[in-house]
Amino acid sequence: MAIGTALSEPPKIYRFAQSKYIDSVRWLPPISALDRLAVIAVFDSDSDSSSIQIHSFTQDPSPNLTPDSQWDSPSRVSSLTASQFKHKSLVAAAAFSGSLHVLLTDAMDPSSFESELSLPEKALHDGPIACVDVMDCGLECVTVGEDGRVNLVSLGESELSYRRIFDSSGLVSFTSAKWASPSEFATGGFGFSLQWWDQRKPGGAVSQFKGDWNQRASGIVHSIDIHPSRKHTCLAGGSLGTVFAWDLRWPQQPLLLSGVGSGEASCSPCESDVWEVQYDPYVKSSNVGNVSSRILPTMICSEDGILAVVEQGEEPIELSAEPCAINSFDIDQQYPSDVIYSLEWESIAILTRP
């Protein structure tokens, strides 16, 4: 395993034990300049109950993460996402039971939930919802599942409505989804596969891709990210430390950024499952001149406890190496130096880069 390039100054890491399993963690979009809020999907194994909590992060006098409010979820949360919606925060949570919950925070008090809209089990998917992603403006979200369905859920005043845009009847399973534009989104699944969908061309995926660089073993895409300025490129992370970029303009030439099959094993910051990927706005690309064809720096978190930034043609930068898995992370879009991540061993950490 490669040891990343040393940063001039190591990042500060604050850990907060929760004594409950953290299924997912996200920053809430900033509503006021004062609040630093995070939304957390929690599973309490002692009482076998799940909830979604808003915690506030304060740094004075010492860094502290305190719970503000809580919404009890009927089932364990499988996917969590937060976005801004009309001066409020919108939290969409998908459950293992198949239900979808959309929570809106209070306009006056952003650290508490004001309303909840939901779709019951079995409406959207047969079985768990693998991933939910909300469009930037918050009007529509896409849900995918292992049952092979792709649904679009629209947010109404008092209810959620949905339409099924694809159903493979289980022939293909999807594990992740990400919006690219108001009409396009990408999904990922088994066999390092990616699909590109366009609502204007119904009936199925517009383009699809299957990664087969590793002849010994294939893998699963766990997470996708698409940069708003480069909508043609789909970044994916998955099994065996794999991170790759799929450019729609050259759909048969994926760019492997990290992974066991990449041939240059020294370039991989980890060898196990990459659970989440996210473009990292904090690390400035070292090669600015050649903007359009290079893949922007990407942060990853992995099963073997690595939080790192990978960049095309550069040594990976290891930000943190934990003794247990990092299951999810989120970069604060307002303060990109700050990263919140959840650890397998029932705790949350906040990392601040110098």
């Binding site: 002692d46 493979s168 289980g170 088994f190 596969s193 995926a205 299957k210 029932e346």
Partner: protein, 715 residues
């Protein structure tokens, strides 16, 4: 039937226990109408009991709408009063890294010593590694920090309020003092004094202690006007002095009324005596490298220096004891109290006996004032016996038996008491300390025993702990670290653990496979993938199922699955539903090895694609391509026979191509042969008729014949 009572409504189950003085009664509400015919109890995950309550099989005609039975899960908490489940998990998580680190150091050292014949230079430092480990573990068990010191020191606050210490930390520190900490062995007695100061409060729960005396006095302190008139003041002072809490004693002495400015004049002698005693106490020689800032006592590292200072100090006390100033001290309580304190300092056994509350305090006071030099464990144990006789303890605290075991040099007792008081976590981790203590303990714990199935005591306890970990959904991932450190049976149990984990939950499955990868358990991992594959397949997630079976390289199942797939393909691949199949076919890939005959689908897709282009009125090129796909499909042995006719029927347009024959003579021959074979097969009983018009066969035959004719002419 065990545990069933006949009164209706509630059923009581009485758990059987040797240890508990009072059996705990749990009521289970199952809500079934009596009679109950069977009751079966089994362990479920973790501390959960699964109780199945069954009614007698009802007669056919009696339809009372009642269910036949119910399964109730009863969660028994392992409430030890001190640590909650969540705290135990936090400790379990935190101890993984120190434990793994120590094990890897052990294996490094054993590798090194295997290579060189001379005794390893590293073995000398082994206890240092164990100390590092012990400190890491100790820090997990809670902290004794009292938080930041208050800005304004309250003179009447003699006892600092600290976080309630835990017994488990006390036990761990005790073992650290006796087994691991070789560096501070010369000042072991001082460490014991500190230990008692930290943990005496724990013993208060079952027995009066000096600490509880202090707490009581502290509560009364603010209401006292003339402190030195209260006999309790002097009693607490002597007691605290007897167990060596000299900071508290000096602070309390300075509360004496004679220090008050307006009294200084007429109580000069009295004040002088109090101050003299206070100074003597604060100058007590201590055999230790140093004390924390602000703590009292004079420290000596070397034994000769210490003995000299000790004798000097004793001489000063004796001198003060014989001083003539006592006669001039009018305050009776002060005189008697101070005199008593001097007796304590002089090591008067009777005074010590009176001032201490239980045998451990007496034992410690002995070292402070009677025999201040370190002695062997054997004579310590002799002293313990004596103290036990003088100050027997009525209610025994769980720490007491551990202390007795340690001082009695009885490793088995220590282990058993640790297990009884603190459970498997403690034993599994404390063994590292115990084995460092002595060669005897080391061989005792690491010796392989036939009555344990050929494993050592150390391994047995690690296995037990690993079992506990693996029974909880949040800690099973830690278990492999402990299992892999068990030489004999660890890997076997690890394989069982990983094989038995549920595969429904995708994340658990992936984490499981990752552990297999780390420990190179390829067979286990491929079995898990097979199980997952079949599970997903059966639940209608065909793509998922195929993926896992491919990962497992399970050709047998893939071939069988292929048969199922062909059946549904034969029915459902119309041009409209093809989009659905697209992804699965993409997933299957074109490599035949990993797909078990499913590569047929890939070729079939290519054929369909080019055929579609032909139908859309595209070029001859597409037609040629379609013909090539058709021939390769018909040649391929993995193409199922039931597809032959549909394939040919789909290609009628190709066979009857207008401009020129697309198939040459040999190609046509091949297809005709296949057609012949098909007609023969039709006679066999297992033949399945394709869902095609009845004249399909003759249409194809006619087309092939005419194509053959044209092809011959062309050639």
């Amino acid at each position: 039937m065990p545990g069933v009572e006949s009164n209706s409504g509630e059923r009581s189950l009485v758990p059987y226990s040797l240890e508990l003085p009072h059996p705990v009664v749990h009521s289970i509400h199952h809500g079934l109408k009596p009679p109950i015919a069977r009751l079966s109890i089994s362990w479920s995950l973790g501390n959960t009991l699964r109780v199945s309550v069954l009614r007698p099989p009802s007669d056919e005609d009696s339809d009372d709408g009642e269910v036949g039975g119910k399964v109730v899960e009863v969660k028994l908490s392992n409430d030890d009063g001190e640590n909650s489940d969540a705290t135990w998990r936090r400790i379990a998580y935190g101890s993984v890294t120190p434990f793994a680190h120590l094990q890897s150091r052990r294996s490094t050292i054993s590798n090194l010593s295997n290579m060189s014949l001379s005794p390893s230079p590293y073995s000398i430092d082994w206890w240092e590694y164990v100390m590092e480990y012990s400190k890491d573990i100790n820090s997990l068990l809670g902290s004794l920090d009292s938080g930041p010191d208050p800005v304004i020191d309250d003179p009447k606050m003699v006892l600092k309020r600290t976080e309630e210490p835990t017994s488990i930390k006390a036990a761990w520190e005790l073992m650290e003092i006796f087994y691991a900490d070789k560096q501070s062995q010369p000042w072991q007695l001082e460490r014991l004094v500190d230990w008692l100061a930290d943990y005496d409060s724990l013993l208060s729960s079952t027995h009066p202690t000096v600490h509880s005396k202090l707490v009581d006095f502290q509560n009364e302190l603010s209401s006292l006007q003339v402190i030195e008139d209260d006999p309790k003041y002097w009693d607490v002072l002597s007691s605290a002095l007897a167990v060596g809490w000299i900071d508290i004693v000096v602070k309390m002495l300075r509360l004496h009324g004679s220090y008050q400015l307006h009294q200084l004049g007429n109580r000069e002698t009295e004040n002088g005596l109090v101050e003299a005693v206070a100074v003597l106490i604060s100058k007590k020689p201590r055999m230790r490298p140093g004390v924390e800032d602000g703590k009292l006592g004079e420290c000596f590292k070397a034994k000769p220096d210490f003995i000299k200072a000790w004798e000097n100090w004793r001489a000063q006390i004796t001198k003060l004891d014989c001083s003539g100033f006592w006669l001039q001290c009018d305050h009776h309580q002060t005189r008697e109290g101070l005199k008593n304190m001097i007796q304590v300092m002089l090591g008067n056994i009777d005074s010590l006996c009176v001032e201490t509350c239980h045998w451990i305090e007496l034992f410690i006071s002995h070292f402070l004032y009677v025999r201040p030099l370190k002695v062997g464990l054997e004579s310590m144990y002799g002293l313990v016996q004596k103290c036990l006789q003088l100050k027997p303890m009525l209610g025994a605290h769980r720490l007491i038996d551990i202390i007795l075991g340690i001082l009695g040099e009885n490793t088995e007792v220590v282990l058993a008491e640790c297990s009884r008081a603190f459970g498997p976590w403690m034993v599994a981790h404390a063994i590292e300390l115990l084995t460092t203590g002595s060669d005897h303990a080391e061989s005792l714990l690491h010796e392989e025993r036939n009555n344990l199935g050929g494993i050592s005591i150390a391994e047995l306890h690690r296995l037990v702990y690993a079992q506990v970990l693996s029974s909880h959904a949040l800690t099973w991932q830690i278990a492999p670290i402990y299992l892999s450190s068990c030489m004999k049976q660890g890997m076997g149990l690890l394989e069982i653990l990983l094989s038995k984990l549920p595969t429904e939950h995708n994340e658990t499955l992936l984490k499981n496979i990752e552990i297999c990868r780390l420990y190179e358990l390829d067979t286990v991992s491929s079995n898990i993938m097979k199980i997952a594959g079949v599970y997903h397949w059966k639940h209608g997630r065909k793509g998922c199922g195929v993926f896992w079976l491919q990962q497992a390289r399970d050709e047998v199942r893939l071939t069988r699955i292929a048969q199922h797939l062909f059946d549904s393909v034969g029915k459902s691949i119309s041009d409209e539903s093809f989009k659905q199949w697209e992804g699965l076919i993409e997933l299957l890939g074109s490599e035949s090895k990993t797909t078990g005959g499913l590569d047929f689908l890939h070729k079939y897709r290519d054929f369909k694609k080019s055929l579609k282009q032909v139908r859309d009125g595209k070029t001859t090129d597409a037609a040629h391509q379609a013909v090539e796909s058709l021939i390769s499909l018909m040649k391929n042995p993995s193409t199922p026979r039931c597809f032959w006719l549909p394939l040919l029927h789909d290609s009628l347009k190709l066979l009857n191509w207008q401009e020129r024959p697309l198939l040459n003579v040999s190609q046509t021959d091949l297809l005709l042969n296949k057609l012949q074979e098909l007609s023969m097969a039709k006679l066999r009983p297992d033949f399945i008729e394709a869902d095609l018009p009845s004249e399909a066969l003759s249409c194809v035959r006619l087309a092939l014949a005419s194509n053959l004719g044209r092809a011959i002419l062309e050639e």
